[in-house]
Symmetry: C2
Subunit: 304 residues, 2 copies
């Protein structure tokens, strides 16, 4: 089952020719979530061959422009391209007014069902779930209300072994029961134990997206042991004071959070324009947490 | 004296990898005007090595997103980069609310003096002037209130001949009078006629930017004999009905307007996504008006 992220923008506030501001696509089981939507995100989607209309949910972390200035343009393009399926947008309440105002003045009446879900960035709560996934907000510590997003798979069912189905001639209607843990009893009354028939369920995977935050250990209980943590690293440690003042983090602080939360892997991003290349930021984070890499526009990371 | 336009976006509504939606830079005597500002315009400026902070005036033709969705991002970047000089934005009144709302929710207090000038797109009137240039609105015929912009140089002064200044030992303080048409009288009382001292003034040049309009002969008196006309050509003539329904023009109609207005040169743009290349649109316009070329992102056109 697919669980991957595609980096659509790895820069902080100002777009450059190499790095767009924040946007990421999360693909879980071919359901596509867009996390943040900076100006130019629709072009980044196109560049990465991701069909706009396949995106069903857009999550906006906070209302600094480098996280949402591309949203109304993306919605407009979905409209102009004749979208039919629902679109759900999750974000702080003011975002609803921003979108509606711009649609109103351009006399745009969306041709598709559009739903806005107001979220409270200061709370840690479930904002979306389906059979296999829950998405939760993670409060950030920033200059305006801001949250991250935790994508956590639900515990899976046991995985039935194909060869056991054949060997024991298990009828189709029994499969679900066995996945749930039942033994199999054949027509002669012979019992085959579930443990023989199945493998352990796949371990639930998780991804935490923590953009735009000062160093904040309060998030650790929420993101503990996630498989992948995206944490902002706007500056290097020699600018720790600037980072703190602007409610951003340094690469070293991102590494520290990853270490203290015992995550499996760390991606850093939201880099300041001052860094032409980001190698040094990765090296700095690696002094605290070795399994780290940089977000780069177009990079796809599988969560395993 | 420079008078040029740089095409920053030549496409209609939806950005593609090759063509951005509408934006143009008008450089008159090194004063930079941005006309429309679609999403991605700040990146297009960067790509074309135009410094954001040199732009002093931004004119927005109407409130369809493909003409202004990049504006708040551009203003934000000017702010984040520490702009000091004034910025003047001209557009329909609702634009003010759109910008202010987005600045307010992001708690952005601009670090530079920012002025919004509300324009009435249904009127033909002077909205800006300096010593050498006037800028006027041109009412368009579109689905929402929209205007074009006419840049018209003021009549210049007579051009004094350098060799005459030397030969007649004309003192510096006399130069301006002579440029205004005065004769020169030397210390001995000898009169040198102005016609001998000067050449005719440079002819005033003009540029009309007419984006997003149905075929509309009402604009002809305003744009008559301009040196350069930019006219939208969203569709080809086989889609004239679609064009009329959406209040857009065909390439042939753009050519017809250019012909009837007796302009010197025509640029067409605002092309529909359906056209991979725009050669056919140019050919169609050329059946009515030969001196035509296509807007292409990055193209610079001198007005002479």
């Amino acid at each position: 089952m697919t669980f991957s992220i595609t980096i659509l923008g790895s820069n902080s506030a100002i777009p450059t020719l190499k790095r767009n501001p924040t946007a990421q696509l999360v693909n879980h089981n071919e359901r596509l979530f867009l996390v943040d939507c900076a100006e130019g995100t629709q072009i980044q989607l196109r560049r990465n061959h991701i069909k706009l209309q396949r995106i069903s949910r857009i999550l906006i972390s906070h209302l600094h422009g480098d996280h949402f200035f591309g949203l109304v343009g993306l919605i407009s393009s979905m409209h102009l391209l004749g979208r039919a399926r629902e679109l759900h947008v999750y974000g702080p309440a003011d975002l609803d007014e921003i979108i509606n105002l711009q649609l109103r003045v351009s006399e745009t009446r969306l041709v598709f069902p559009y739903f806005f879900h107001s979220i409270d960035p200061d709370k840690h709560e479930l904002i979306y779930e389906d059979q296999r996934l829950g998405v939760y907000t993670i409060p950030m510590k920033h200059s305006i209300p801001a949250c991250g997003f935790l994508f956590r798979e639900k515990p899976g069912k046991r995985r039935i072994k194909r060869e056991m189905v054949i060997e024991n001639k298990i009828p189709v209607e029994q499969i679900e029961n066995i996945k749930e843990g039942a033994d199999f009893i054949d027509e002669s009354g012979r019992i085959v134990k579930n443990k023989i028939l199945t493998d352990e369920p796949q371990l639930p995977r998780s991804y935490a997206h923590c953009s735009d935050t000062a160093y904040n250990e309060a998030m650790i209980p929420i993101i503990r042991e996630v498989d992948l943590l995206y944490h902002e690293a706007t500056f290097m440690n020699d600018r720790a004071a600037v980072a703190a003042e602007k409610f951003h983090s340094t690469a070293r602080e991102a590494g520290l959070i990853a270490k203290k939360a015992g995550v499996h892997k760390l991606i850093i991003g939201h880099f300041s324009n001052r860094y032409e290349t980001v190698r040094d930021l990765v090296d700095e984070a690696a002094t605290e947490f070795a399994n780290v890499e940089a977000a780069e526009d177009g990079k796809v990371i599988e969560i395993s």
